[in-house]
């Protein structure tokens, strides 16, 4: 099958296709500069930063006006997005009076004209979905909040000055990692991929987590992942959702290269003399033996009833198994603690990782040779946020690759929007232009999207086929036990 990666080039000779891209991203609070002439004070962050001051003020003012205007129609639900020919703006108020705005340029096709005339630009304003980019915007905030706490917290601690510093520091880097061209339905779900596992191995992991938490009583929460898929979370669902996003799209991809690198590669981390285990810290000290090693870990904020709680995030990995240990930020972590953790967790996690690997291979052998399923699907369960996709290839830090045409992805997104409108169970079957059939099913908090490549099938046959698939494949899609 073909792999479509964005950005892509259209087939036409000199036609140039542009994917959606980030035009600007800004955060403001109208209450900070209510009087005329003080408008600049409202702006807390503006990307790109080289925009002229008056233009910044103009753009922020426009957004304010739109939100204010739409409030008159529905006071509780002001506008979430504004569609224009060239771009689309998304508005989000995560905290009282704090607004985040993201402006995305619509995808477009540049058609060269003869006779040296400037090329004609055709904006494809219907190609992008509010749900997808709205979700991306909310994710931006959640990620900020994970590492910094709320805007309100920064205000309390150090006023506007501290908040703008924090925003600058965080978003400057974060926005570079936003790859708007490859956002799709999965961003809407923001789901978690769970690792399929038999009950016994799962219980062993439980036992491991409990023992570590008992012996290292500083550890408040633990999450356990294998192959970038979640197995256990001691954090609440919403916190885990965003932490999972961070781990799988940012932290793990950054650290996967050394493991894949050859023995003599300079990328390969220094390995201690006698190798009793393969455990190492992904956050904090790269090498415990280094006398200069710093024992600083990233801090994250998680929800706790009505407030939030600040934690050190220790990510420790042995082979494909990763354990995240979260420790109250009020505790200072020392070399002794890290050594203790390393010597306790390292050997156990190494053993567990090979156990899981072995068990996984056994299960795969039982369930049949690892041939690609004959159909492609995305599954999402709203209740436990479980997602599974055979459409997406392995995520990397830079791009997510899909194995189907973007047009089909757009259809999936559209079906999802239709589902969101109604509360009842539904089923939608679409015949795509390219002879593909796309089927969406929604029942009892679960959504399933199937893409079938059966040119000559009719509606009834497609329906039967999907029914059959559900019965055979989705009974136990996640858990091979």
């Amino acid at each position: 099958c073909e792999v479509y990666a964005a950005p892509r080039m259209a087939t036409g000779m000199q036609e140039k296709q542009y994917t959606p891209s980030l035009l600007s991203f800004f955060i403001y609070n109208p209450s900070f500069g209510p009087r005329e002439g003080e408008e600049e004070k409202k702006i807390l962050f503006y990307h790109p930063c080289d925009v002229e001051k008056n233009e910044k003020i103009r753009n922020v003012g426009l957004c304010e006006a739109i939100v204010q205007f739409t409030r008159t129609f529905c006071p509780t639900k002001p506008a979430k997005s504004l569609h224009t020919q060239k771009n689309r703006q998304f508005f989000f108020e995560p905290e009282d009076n704090f607004w985040i705005v993201m402006v995305v340029r619509n995808p477009m096709i540049e058609k060269p004209n003869k006779d040296g005339k400037p090329p004609t630009i055709e904006y494809q304003e219907e190609e992008i979905l509010d749900t997808v980019y709205g979700a991306v915007l909310r994710q931006c905030y959640s990620m900020y909040k994970l590492f910094n706490g709320t805007f309100g917290r920064a205000m309390e601690a150090g006023g506007v000055e501290l908040l703008t510093q924090k925003l600058e520091k965080f978003f400057y880097r974060y926005l570079q990692t936003l790859h708007l061209q490859s956002c799709d339905l999965l961003d809407v779900f923001g789901g978690i991929s769970f690792f399929p596992l038999d009950k016994m191995t799962y219980l062993k992991i439980q036992s491991f987590v409990n023992r570590v938490e008992e012996s290292l009583s500083l550890v408040k929460y633990t999450a356990f992942l294998y192959n970038d898929q979640l197995i256990w979370s001691g954090l609440e669902q919403d916190d885990m959702r965003i932490l999972y996003k961070y781990l799988t799209t940012s932290l793990f991809p950054r650290h996967s290269e050394p493991e894949l690198a050859g023995r003599d590669s300079p990328l390969r981390p220094e390995v201690a003399g006698n190798l009793l285990h393969y455990g190492r810290f992904l956050t904090g000290p790269a090498n415990l033996k280094d006398p200069e090693a710093k024992f600083r870990f990233p801090k994250i904020f998680v929800n706790k009833e009505d407030s939030y709680e600040e934690l050190h995030l220790i990510v420790y990995k042995a082979m494909s198994a990763a354990a995240c240990f979260m420790i109250s930020a009020s505790v200072e972590l020392t070399r002794e603690f890290c050594e203790q953790l390393d010597s306790l967790v390292g050997p156990q996690l190494t053993l567990l990782a090979s156990d899981i690997c072995e068990q996984f291979n056994i299960n795969r052998r039982i369930s049949g040779p690892d041939k690609e399923p004959q159909f492609k699907f995305i599954y999402f369960n709203h209740m436990n946020l479980a997602e599974k996709s055979t459409i997406h290839m392995r995520k990397t830090a830079s791009v997510s690759l899909t194995s189907v045409h973007p047009d089909l992805m757009k259809i999936l997104g559209d079906i999802n929007c239709d589902f969101a409108r109604v509360d009842e169970d539904e089923e939608i079957i679409v015949k795509a232009m390219t002879d593909y059939w796309v089927v969406g099913k929604k029942s009892d908090q679960r959504e399933l999207y199937v893409i079938l490549n059966q040119k000559n099938a009719n509606l009834i046959e497609v329906n039967e086929e999907v029914k059959r698939l559900c019965a055979t494949q989705f009974n136990n899609i996640f858990f091979l036990d």
Binding site: F194, L197, K199, M200, Y202, L203, K204, Q206, S207, N210, R211, E213, E214, S215, S217, W232, S233, G234, E236, Q237, M240, H382, M383, N384, A386, Q445, F478, F479, D481
Partner: protein, 630 residues
């Protein structure tokens, strides 16, 4: 100290007239009877057995000093030895309490070998007897009615002394000049079979050769169903053995006898041996303490089959045994201690509770306890104890203990299953009939754990819920590891604990990986014929446990509260009798109705009329939510 005595004498010793110049006392190991013979029998012989029905009293003529006196099995025939050349048989009529036996007697003296002196005799059956003489062994059948005996088998062999193990009917003869070549014979209904002889390694070989192995240093007993010859090997200055040890020789029915275990005593002096509950008890005279050994307990830091004492040495509670020469205390196999001078026969017993604090390694403690007879309550108390401590690092210990319990539990379940299958497939052809497996006290099942340990543990105040869940999961993990089907009440315990602490996300994850819902239904006795999902099951469990708010919170956490039946919750709330609870639940559903239909009233289809009436009765008409005015 006092609660550290792990050995005790039984509460109800057998009492008999103490030994004196006119009263001779004999003990028969086969029938476990004490004979008090007054004045050679003329003024009475009183026989006391382990229980009253084995007690007999009779009189016989004084024909000289009695050297040995024993009943055949079942008290049918009495054998009395007065000289080294002759034994007298008497048939007993036990209808009368006091018997005059002399008239029924006949004397048997036609022994096979002339000039042989009788070392002793052993009854192997109601009418079969073995004579051991210094020149051999003779096996006879006795016919009291005909006043005759019939020789069944005999064997010539020079004998120094002998030992008899009534349990297995094996006689051990000491032969050769040094006495260290032992020849066992086994007896079974009319047959005598020679077993393979073996040699005891002496610490020093004396020159010139002389009898070097004393019968006091050899004992026979069955341990874990196998016959062993125990040799008390004293320390010797010349040989390189700093302290005494007990060497066990395994004596199988077929095949050669092999040296199998060495028990290190780590001291010197005089010793005596008992076997109690498959433990070898070694009494040390000078310190007046005893040691116990379990030959099944593996010693990690010892060579194969070398054993150290399981526990530190302690004296027997509440007595100390003076085994001094002047005393008339004697020790008999397997577990008997007799004080002839005081007129008592005790059974030695192992007290398990004190062992708990003496054995720090809980894994080893479990191995030890699981092999003891009355272990159940002690094991359960140990389980409670390790959960109570809640010390750091106790989870691995908890896991080890659970695994050891479930290992035994699983073996029993498997044996039971094999038996059931064998029974179903009909009586086996020719092969030995299947015996129903015995459920020993060491089989600790899920209901035992639930009732005596886990249920109370989850209720206890001050235990962190993290630890409770960790322990429950550890138990479930252990059961799964041994492929034992987990009982629903354990799942209920986990669910209850999670819900009490609002840990719904954990609950979901457990459900997701099928850790909690298994083939067995989660719910007992619920009216619903079928439950569609695990969520419904959890709600049912919680409602049946009267956790109405917990159930509501749970169903709301999974987003199912718009679809649940209000009636079910209201019923449960009403049943608790808690008015505020009922109020809360009622208002919850009124608000739901308002949100879903714009009206707080219940639909007729929901069948909540009686609850509305109940609500009005309790709180008055005006407390009802009114439909919002348009």
């Amino acid at each position: 100290m006092s609660d550290e005595h792990y050995l005790e004498l039984c509460d109800n010793p057998v009492q008999f007239e103490n030994a004196s110049s006119v009263n001779n006392v004999f003990f028969d190991e086969a029938n476990k009877q004490v004979f008090a013979v007054r004045s050679g029998g003329a003024t009475g012989v009183v026989v006391k057995g382990p229980d009253d029905k084995n007690s007999v009293a009779f009189r016989m003529d004084d024909k000289g000093e009695v050297k040995c006196i024993k009943f055949s099995i079942g008290n049918k025939i009495l054998a009395v030895q007065r000289t080294s050349k002759a034994v007298m048989f008497c048939q007993m009529n036990l209808q009368c309490v006091v018997l005059e036996v002399s008239c029924l007697c006949f004397v048997f003296r036609s022994l096979q070998t002339k000039n042989a002196s009788v070392l002793g005799f052993c009854w192997t059956n109601w009418n079969e007897i073995v004579f051991i003489t210094d020149q051999g062994i003779e096996f006879y059948q006795v016919f009291p009615d005909k006043r005759s005996v019939k020789l069944l088998k005999s064997q010539s062999i020079n004998v120094n002394w002998y030992q008899y193990c009534p349990e297995t009917a094996v006689i051990l003869l000491s032969t050769t000049v040094q006495g260290n070549v032992l020849q066992p014979f086994a007896f079974r209904s009319g047959t005598m079979s020679k077993m393979s002889k073996f040699e005891i390694e002496l610490p020093v070989v004396p020159k010139p050769a002389k009898l070097s192995l004393s019968e006091r240093d050899i004992a026979m007993a069955t341990i874990y169903g196998q016959l062993y010859v125990m040799y008390l090997k004293h320390h010797s200055r010349t040989a390189n053995s700093p302290s005494a040890e007990v060497v066990l020789y395994h004596l199988p029915r077929e095949g050669a006898c092999k040296k199998s275990h060495v028990l290190k005593l780590n001291t010197t002096g005089k010793f005596a041996l008992n076997i109690v509950d498959n433990l070898v008890v070694v009494h040390h005279q000078s310190s007046q303490t005893s040691l116990i050994f379990d030959i099944r307990l593996r010693e990690p830091d010892c060579a194969v089959n070398t054993h150290q004492p399981v526990l530190p040495a302690r004296s027997i509670h509440p007595y100390r045994i003076p085994l001094s020469d002047s005393s008339s205390w004697s020790v008999f196999q397997p577990d008997i201690i007799i004080s002839a001078s005081e007129g008592y026969l005790w059974y030695l017993q192992v007290k398990l509770p004190p062992t708990v604090n003496l054995l720090q390694d809980k894994g080893k403690l479990m191995d030890f306890l699981l092999r003891r007879r009355d272990c159940k309550m002690v094991i359960l108390s140990v389980c409670s104890q390790i959960l109570e401590g809640g010390e750091k690092g106790s989870l691995p210990v908890v896991a080890t203990v659970f695994d050891k319990l479930n290992q035994v539990y699983k073996e029993y379940l498997e044996a039971e299953q094999t038996y059931t299958l064998a029974m179903e497939s009909g009586p086996s052809r020719g092969s030995a009939a299947q015996k129903r497996p015995v459920r020993t006290q060491a089989v600790i099942d899920q209901s035992d754990m639930y009732t005596h340990v886990l249920s109370a543990f989850t209720e206890r105040k001050g235990v962190s819920h993290k630890f409770i869940i960790a322990v429950l999961m550890e138990y479930i993990r252990s059961l799964n590891q041994f492929q034992i089907t987990v009982q629903h009440y354990l799942y209920e315990l986990v669910i209850k604990t999670l819900v009490q602490h609002n840990l719904f996300y954990m609950l979901h994850q457990f459900l997701q990986y099928h850790v909690l819902s298994d083939s067995k239904p989660l719910v007992r006795a619920t009216p619903q014929p079928r439950l569609s999902t695990a969520n419904d099951e959890i709600v049912e469990v919680l409602l049946s446990k009267q956790q109405v708010l917990g159930a509501l919170r749970f169903i709301r956490s999974v987003g199912g509260h718009d679809n649940v039946s209000a009636r079910k919750f209201l019923d449960a709330a009403q049943q608790t009798g808690d008015q505020m609870l009922f109020y809360t639940v009622f208002r919850f559903f009124q608000q739901r109705n308002q949100r879903l239909r714009g009206n707080p009233a219940f639909n007729p289809g929901e069948h909540c009329e009686e609850h509305v009436v109940h609500f009005k009765q309790l709180f008055g008409e005006q407390a009802l939510m009114k439909p919002a005015t348009v």
